[in-house]
């Protein structure tokens, strides 16, 4: 058994036995922890509390969704700006084509008169 396997098994064994500790041992552990926490600054205490006490994080329930909310907000904003940029490009392209049609040698009627379309087909040299 190498060192890694040994430490994994040891940790598992210790965790398995955690629930079987006598109440007196639990009380001494809690007192020691509280004494230690009393000596560290308030901010560090909060961090230690958040990290160490599993199952009581519901007290911070409102905060746990902050990163997710930020992610959703970020994605929504980036998607919105993507739409803005895409629409602007689309309008710019259409405006450039319109300007070309409006300044072309042929009048607008040549592009909308279906009779002219028929005339072009009619006068087209027949292909073999």
């Amino acid at each position: 058994m190498n060192e890694q396997e040994f430490s994994t098994r040891l940790a598992r064994r210790l965790e398995d036995r955690l629930d079987d500790l006598p109440p007196t041992v639990m009380a001494r552990l809690r007192a020691a922890r509280e004494a230690a926490l009393a000596q560290v600054p308030v901010q560090a205490q909060q961090l230690a509390f958040a990290g160490a006490v599993r199952g009581t994080t519901h007290r911070h329930g409102g905060l746990r969704f902050v990163p997710l909310a930020a992610l959703v907000l970020g994605l929504t904003l980036s998607f919105y700006w993507y739409q803005v940029a895409r629409q602007a490009t689309h309008h710019q392209d259409a405006a450039e084509i319109d300007a070309q049609v409006l300044t072309d040698d042929l009048p607008i009627a040549a592009y909308v008169d279906q009779g002219f379309e028929a005339w072009l087909k009619h006068t087209q040299p027949s292909r073999p």
Binding site: F79, Q87, D98, L102, I108, D113, F116
Partner: protein, 149 residues
């Protein structure tokens, strides 16, 4: 608490990114931002001079179309005088077309533009020919193409 985040975040990502390909194929779908374009009174005197043929139409025009005209105005100053005049003289006619007619005109313009210069010249010549045809003949040609469709 850390364990729930990747799953929830992945779900949120899937929900957000799922519709993107569908939206990308529909211009202006769902989340398309609303375009705001100026009222006639908010235009500069120079912009009003260029857009003068559209003065009566401007208040009735939707913002997206006004925005397109504003973009055309920006290109106006870089055009030679002859094309500037041509553009102004055609503004009203262009604005009076239906949306479908404008789409058709753009498509036909793109098609003719892709032709080699000699073919374009030929088209111009044929337009001159067509214009000289009697109105009755033009009418028959229009009917013929409508029947063919």
């Amino acid at each position: 608490m850390a364990k729930t985040h990747p799953a929830v975040a992945a779900l949120a990502l899937a929900l957000l990114l799922g519709p993107v390909p569908a939206l990308a194929t529909q211009p202006g779908a769902l989340t398309a931002p609303v375009v705001r374009a100026p009222e006639w009174g908010q235009l500069t005197p120079e912009q009003q001079r260029i857009l003068a043929p559209l003065a009566a139409e401007w208040p009735k025009m939707e913002h997206a179309r006004r925005d397109k005209w504003m973009r055309i105005v920006r290109q106006y100053s870089s055009l030679p005088a002859e094309k500037q005049q041509r553009l102004q003289s055609r503004m009203q006619q262009w604005a009076s077309l239906t949306h479908e007619q404008r789409v058709q005109a753009r498509e036909r313009y793109a098609k003719l533009k892709s032709l080699p210069p000699e073919k374009r010249h030929e088209i111009n010549r044929k337009w001159a020919e067509y214009e000289r045809l009697p109105e009755e003949r033009k009418h028959k040609l229009r009917q013929a193409i409508q029947t063919a469709e």
